[in-house]
């Protein structure tokens, strides 16, 4: 039983993987049909006095529907699942068990970070592939290059989000407090991005990259946000190890 297998079992036996996969797959499977049949749905539920006209769906609308829903609820689920793994000091006896058996906090943190990030990425990719497939079937073709690049940017953002959770777990101790702190940081980033010139550098820009690329944006537009996310994520992990090492149980 290694620390890596421990994290794998945590995902499987606590069934957290189901929560991750369910959220992304649900929105991946429902986003394109909602875009394709939006006008029919509105017509069926609308009253006779009000007529809403929606332009015919384009392929990017299917992806847009998926991203809008999954980027919010999915992110909350990712944060909760990652916090469950990364708050090993929430129960001091478990923290003591782990900490007294290794000289390096990174040895404890690394599997928890990577397994959480890979699980989040896997769920996001599964949802994206489902949305892509349904969009092609129901609405029309999407650029393969744009989709692959958009999915890569989404994965980088989720890894960044998990790194933020790791940092939060080194600052706060309880799982709920870590979830709240992580969400506060992740919500604050796009708000900070409203400052002129800062937005393109914010990792939160990557959230909508898949949607924007499907609409014809260039991947190069996201390189600044990618570099910030990678650097910021690495710094968050470095600080997480430093802060966790200073903590007393």
């Amino acid at each position: 039983m290694t620390l890596w297998r421990l994290e794998w079992l945590r995902l499987l036996r606590t069934r957290r993987w189901i929560a991750l996969a369910a959220v992304y797959l649900f929105f991946g499977l429902t986003g394109p049909p909602l875009a394709r049949y939006a006008s029919d749905i509105l017509r069926r539920f609308g009253s006779g006095n009000l007529q809403i006209t929606i332009p015919p769906a384009v392929p990017a609308d299917g992806i847009s529907n998926y991203i809008k829903n999954a980027s919010q609820i999915g992110l909350v689920v990712v944060v909760v699942v990652a916090a469950g793994a990364l708050t090993f000091d929430a129960r001091p006896e478990i923290g003591a068990f782990l900490r007294t058996r290794t000289d390096s906090l990174w040895r404890i943190l690394a599997p928890r970070f990577w397994v959480s990030a890979v699980a989040a990425a896997g769920a996001f990719l599964a949802g994206s592939l489902a949305a892509w497939y349904e969009t092609v079937v129901l609405i029309g073709r999407l650029s393969t290059g744009a989709m692959l690049a958009g999915m890569a940017f989404g994965v980088i953002y989720l890894a960044f989000a998990v790194a933020v959770v790791a940092l939060s777990a080194a600052i706060a101790r309880g799982t709920l407090a870590v979830v709240m702190l992580s969400l506060a940081i992740l919500i604050a980033l796009p708000i900070a991005g409203l400052v002129r010139g800062v937005g393109p550098w914010m990792p939160s820009e990557l959230v909508g990259a898949l949607d924007a690329l499907a609409r014809g944006a260039h991947a190069a537009d996201y390189l600044r946000a990618t570099s910030t996310a990678l650097l910021g994520g690495a710094l968050a992990l470095w600080f997480a190890v430093r802060l966790a090492a200073r903590r007393e149980l």
Binding site: M1, T2, L3, L6, L9, R10, R13, T14, R91, P92, E93, I94, A96, F97, L98, R99, T100, R101, T102, D103, E248, L249
Partner: protein
């Protein structure tokens, strides 16, 4: 020298000097200096809030001292720690918990050592069960198995038998006793009989201060005034009067029934030399003279009151 016993000149496995720990304005440890000889079992006793868990936390590296030094003569990876209420991820089996401990501290150790540790802790029937349903006693046994599986040189055990039934406590104490000579054990306990049973050295903490440190024999004989019980057939008054006149007699009491006199003395040496002549001089009929047994509980209460 017994097999596995350390050479007499070997330095102590644990040595602290002027150790102090403050939590805000509260002083949890004050000027604590302990020495745990290699290969021995050291018992740390003290009332609630004495600082035992804080001291073990500092020795295990989970807390930092405000001042003072800690010297461990063994590498950190050879130190095993057992908290008083061990907890584990409830979806792991007992065998997985112990195997995780093995791979973290002794990855090269054979996997069958896991079953050996589980057997030594008396958990072989529950090895395949998930620990979420374990009682506190079973968790304590599991914690002990996870502690010994890495073949540690120093074990820091916080109340290792506090949740166990009498049979379980005996098993754990036997296990600790068997570790003597090959490992060094420092354990805290409220159960004085446990400490008395297995410890070579005792440290008594109260309110963060180390009141006594030394051998169990020294503690029992050197810290409490000896007492004697004298059964007198007749002539009790003469006996009481004669004893009260002696400079080596500290107290004389007759609370234990008719004809029974209990005396406290300054030293056993004086009493053993002078008591019989004094009693003989009274002319009273003396049925028996016996020293009162000094147990750890009495010593502990006298030291910590």
């Amino acid at each position: 020298m017994a097999v596995g016993a350390p050479p007499p000149e070997s330095p102590p496995t644990v040595r602290t000097a002027s150790l102090r720990k403050e939590y805000g304005s509260h002083v949890a440890l004050d000027d604590v200096g302990i020495e745990v000889p290699r290969g021995t079992v050291y018992g740390l006793v003290g009332p609630n809030g004495a600082g035992k868990t804080t001291l073990l936390g500092i020795l295990s590296g989970l807390r930092r001292p405000t001042a003072g030094t800690v010297d461990l003569a063994v590498p950190r990876r050879k130190v095993a720690v057992l908290p008083d209420t061990p907890r584990f991820d409830p979806w792991l089996t007992a065998r997985e918990v112990v195997d995780l401990a093995r791979t973290m501290v002794a990855p090269d150790a054979p996997a069958d050592r896991v079953d050996g540790a589980i057997r030594a802790a008396g958990l072989e029937d529950a090895a395949g069960r998930r620990v979420g349903g374990f009682s506190r006693g079973m968790l304590q046994r599991l914690g002990l198995a996870a502690t010994i599986v890495g073949d540690p040189e120093l074990l820091l055990l916080d109340e290792p038998a506090s949740a166990l039934d009498p049979a379980g406590r005996r098993d754990v104490l036997d296990l600790i006793a068997r570790l003597r000579g090959t490992s060094t054990v420092l354990f805290s306990s409220h159960i004085l009989a446990d400490v008395e049973r297995v410890c070579d050295t005792v440290g008594v903490l109260r309110a963060g201060r180390l009141l006594y440190q030394g051998t169990m024999t020294g503690l029992l004989s050197g810290t409490v005034a000896p007492e004697y019980r004298i059964h007198v057939r007749d002539g009790v008054e003469q006996v009481v009067a004669a004893l009260r006149a002696q400079p080596w007699v500290r107290s004389v009491a007759q609370n234990d029934g008719p004809g029974v006199v209990r005396i406290g003395v300054a030293s056993a040496d004086d009493a053993e030399r002078a008591m019989i002549p004094v009693l003989a001089g009274t002319g009273a009929r003396i049925a028996s003279v016996e020293p009162e047994a000094i147990d750890l509980e009495r010593v502990f209460l006298e030291l910590t009151s």
